[in-house]
Amino acid sequence: MKLARELWESLIGSLVGLGSIVRFLLRLFAEVPRALLRIDLIAQQIYNSGALSLVIIMLSGLFVGMVLGLQGFQLLQRFGSEEALGTAATIGLVKELGPVVTALLFAGRAGTALASELGLMRATDQLSAMEMMAVDPIRRVVVPRFLGGVIAMPLLAAIFSVIGIYGAQLVGVQIMGVDSGSFWSQMRAAVALADINEGIVKSLIFGVACSLIAVYEGYYAIPTAEGVGRATTRTVVTSAVVILFLDYLITAAFL
């Protein structure tokens, strides 16, 4: 009996959480036109979430691509079609690994930074102080961070994919000796513009999801040291689950 009630309450609690995050998203969207007037604030956030994530994205992209090159080569060699490595690596990177791994890294690198920054602003009453000065903290602080993340994510994912293809090429062509011309020509013949579009749509949606979760968790963090820590952790955990779930949905929608 008690267990059933607790279950019921946690169900209601998660529904309330879902509703409040959706309302928060709508509020952010409503503020977007006015936030676009302060383009300098958005540029600052693109720098924070995008440019500062560049090193980790590029390094990870290179290694993911190199592993794809190795594994793909080993697998394709069994069927005597190593030349398909370019196609396999590119489709894998552009459609799946690029957006997903970038989003996971983005949640870890930029999402946590956003959540802890906003959480600390909440804990030190900076957000309340803004309200006292008749500055809307959502418009001044939250929306630029959200937009910065949304803009940075697709660019990061594209960089990840390109570096990954280079990594696959490095291992496949330079080390394993796949014919360079076949690598590229088979890739060009098999990869369609729709594949690239799928990757861009995915990374854009992941960008919205990651940034939203990060600013939401930070903005509504419990104003204590522990609360900020918890908000940061929840940002990563929720983002990871939501990214993988959305990934399935978008892939199914594109099929």
Binding site: A51, F79, S161, S182, S185, R188, I196
Partner: protein
Amino acid sequence: MRKSTTLNLGTGTFVLLGFAALFFLTTQTTSRGITFFTSPPHYDLTAKFDNIADLKVGAPVSMSGVEVGRVTKIAFDSKEYKAVVTMRIDARYNQIPTDSDAAIYTQGLLGGKFIGLTAGGEETYLKDKDQISFTQSAFVLENLIGQVLANFTKSAGQSDSGKSKPDAPAPEPKSTEKPK
């Protein structure tokens, strides 16, 4: 001032890199590509095939297993009903006899198609815009299977249903067997 300069530089570099990456993905990895690099000295040869199967632009052209060029264009000759393949051969390999023959082979079991040139015995060599007259079509697995199946049914004694079959896929295997 100084801080905002580094900030702008960082943001600018990041955005530029991002769009360069998107540009690379859309133009260099898909078939709607744009080629930027000028090719090294080369000459073009053409060859007409009955069937090129899934030979693609960019497929290698090799002699004795060494890559000497690439397929640059595939067109259809509507008068002769043949595929016209244009190959770009590296200028270093300018001593290909005029009676050489071109055949379409498969890389591995599931790999893409490529063109293999076999040198002839003539003393004169192929030049730019020349045509290779001896060609051998792509090996089409389905035709072979059909033929084997037809032979099988024929030898099994069901001659009335099997007899008409070997004639149907004949044009393909005939040209495949010719140069052997």
